[in-house]
Amino acid sequence: MGRIVEWLDARFPLTAFLKHELSEYPTPRNLSYWWNFGSLAGLVLVIQILSGIFLAMHYKADSTLAFDSIEHIMRDVNYGWLIRYIHSTGASAFFAVIFIHMARTLYYGSYRAPRELMWWTGQVLLLMLMATAFMGYLLPWGQMSYWGAQVITNLFRATPFIGDQVVIWLRGDFAVGDATLTRFFALHYLFPFLITGMVMVHLVALHMVKSSNPSGIDLAAKNNIPFHPYFTVKDLFGVGVFLLIFCAFVFYSPNTFIEAENNLPADPMKTPAHIVPEWYFLPFYAILRAVPDLLGGVVAMAMSVMIFAAMPYLDRSKIPGGARHRPFFRVLFYVFAIDVLVLTYVGMKPPEGVLIPVGQVATFIYFGLFVLLPFISKKEEQWLRARGLPPELQALVASEEAQRALKKKGAL
């Protein structure tokens, strides 16, 4: 064994790599369980790719066969129901994990320098995940698959001048049809591998800047512990808890995440009474509908996802620890969280009655918070410093400033 490793190490930096990235990779010892969701996202990606490959062995990407092939998988293929329920539940699990991962980053201000690239590669990953989920949802070729794709591809009509052409180009036909299904299948199979590549970039960036931590400062060496074994075992425990919840859904409530109407085969002649996207798209869908104009709605929806990228610039406070030590920012965070829940509810319901103004107000609040953030964060920092920081925080700020000064000196 030792000789094989020796032989390998002379040709490939195996031991050095493991040492650098695992057994000697410094990780803040004060990470809470909120820091588990990155590794969980990686796990769900693997679950989705594996279950997806096995589904693809039995699935037929043909508008006349797709629905039947899903029924075949669910009824005739050995453990086909299990593979399919793992995949359909996995899609929801993926978004749940990613949303918590993002919420943690926002709460603790982990997007701030020097971790902007982490945040932006994460933003790209979110977009890729959304595209993959959207295309995957067409594949069962049920009523909601079909009409969801019809509605969303139709949004591209808002493209100035060439809107109609863009929609036809996306669908490969005048309406969603066989051509749409086959291209969505091809891309749905491709995207997870692009996502895997992007995850590598995300991880390389992480190992450059290292993990943030609840205190919000770069810790001195004594407070960092090697990733292995401390965080490998902590992440594994997190995996166990996650799998318990995940499997409870897969085995006991797998249809929670499958729209009832999607068990009807797609019928281009029959529009469902109420077209709803999957739960993870609902807030953005509510924002789309809150704007009466098509182009305006599409722009608002795109903005609602992309605006996160501006966070490193919008948040101008240097107080470490994110919302933990920042009372106003903490209020903004919780208002935002509740606002997203309200938008989810509005997106789920038909747009009528009081829900229309509620959706518009919630959309206004959603963007308003981002607009207010630069002023509030600046004022908050001034107020906090003028009032005198609590001793614990004062020590954090001092240590942060000392480190920065040290780095500057080193650079000179």
Binding site: R29, E71, M74, R75, W81, L82, Y85, K222, N223, I225, P229, Y230, V233, K234, L236, F237, V239, G240, V241, L243, L244, C247, A248, V250, F251, Y252, P254, N255, T256, E259, A260, E261, N263, L264, H274, V276, W279, L341, V342, T344, Y345, M348
Partner: protein, 223 residues
Amino acid sequence: MTKLRIRWATILLSAMLSGGVYASSEAALPDVKIDTSSAHLKNGAVAILNVCTLCHSVKYVKYRSLLEIGFSTAEVDTLRGEKPLDEPFLAKLQPESARKVFGMVPPDLSDAAKTRKNGAAYVYALLTSYHEDAQEHVDNKLFPGIKMPDPLGLSVELDPARKVKLDQRAKDIAAFLQWSADPRAAERESLGVWVLGYLAVLTFLLWLVKRRVWQRLKAEGVG
């Protein structure tokens, strides 16, 4: 203000509880217990074959599938007659004739119980909601203007004993459709116990390992 707050709380709470879409008609569904034990599934299968498949297909269910709900090979042979074991339940009414008579092809029933929430209860309610009005015109309370004529004849049945029997038949049909929409449910639920049990033990052990590994830090007194 307080009132408004309470209303908000109710909206949010109901949003969390409902968790998905619901149709307004579901509130009217009777709270029935549909027994999906083998005897009821078998009765349901016979009723489906004798009544429902006159017009509806149940195309993802094959005669062979009947072996899974407790029929013996001999019983299946009687039910299928000359048809091969792998023949799906097809409608006796041809699609062209159906279009002439009803203006549409009656929907396939394989997934009927999961095309809406609480689908089995809906099937039962639909079958038992036929009634005869003063003009001796039969309609359905749950689905007014439905094109399907009263399949069990409950609306015109006078004999109370027979009525009870027909009501049970509606439940058995609902039970069979519940099974046909999710034929692997029993296997899934029994396998789930082992999977969750295994994971619970594994997670507990991982927690112990985690605790032990992290205790090293305390012992070393780092930080």
